[in-house]
């Protein structure tokens, strides 16, 4: 256990936990906020995990996740708008 793993654990519990709670209850827009929050926090979490394990090639994953979660969240905003 090093400091980066500890920071990752704090980010999972304190960051992803509330984000997943937001995605699990309430109206669709509230869940979308939780989704965007979860995506951003996961990117930071993966950066910290790449540093914790000392493997810089793991950084490809958060790099792709930023772009994909951006497009995915915009798709959801489009779908929510058309549904009403």
């Amino acid at each position: 256990m090093n400091g980066w793993l500890l920071a990752s654990a704090v980010l999972i519990v304190g960051g992803l936990g509330p984000a997943l709670y937001l995605t699990s209850r309430g109206p669709a827009v509230r869940r979308l906020v939780g989704l965007q929050l979860a995506g951003a926090i996961t990117v930071l979490l993966m950066e910290l995990l790449a540093q914790a394990y000392g493997q810089s090639q793991y950084l490809v994953v958060p790099l792709v996740l930023v772009v994909v979660s951006f497009a995915g969240t915009l798709v959801f905003t489009r779908l929510l708008r058309d549904r009403s």
């Binding site: 109206p27 827009v29 929050l37 930071l44 540093q51 950084l59 708008r81």
Partner: protein, 103 residues
């Protein structure tokens, strides 16, 4: 000197984690949807740069730091765009703005 840079980098990354956790808890805490949207921005515009700069200091002048900088820039650019898009959907569903976006 390098150990001081490492310590500063670790402190900055830790501050970034604290900011992100505080923003996430606050986003759950508030009751109004429009206020909740405000807590998305500290994650991408404050927490992510703090973590990115901290990791960059720890890793030094390497391709790893360049990758982390790229990720941080992408997060900082896409975060507010997504926040405004979600805000627009919320306003459209509330009937505050018109349903159809201008073509």
């Amino acid at each position: 000197m390098s150990s001081l840079v490492h310590v500063v980098g670790a402190v900055l990354a830790g501050l970034g984690v604290v900011v992100v956790v505080a923003a996430a808890i606050a986003a759950v805490w508030v009751r109004e949807e429009y206020v909740r949207l405000h807590f998305l921005t500290p994650v991408t515009s404050l927490g992510a740069p703090l973590v990115g700069v901290g990791l960059g200091l720890v890793n030094g002048w390497t391709l790893t730091s360049a990758t982390i900088l790229g990720i941080t820039l992408l997060l900082a650019i896409t975060g507010p765009v997504l926040g405004s898009a979600i805000g627009r959907v919320t306003a459209q569903l509330d009937g505050v703005v018109e349903q159809e976006s201008p073509e």
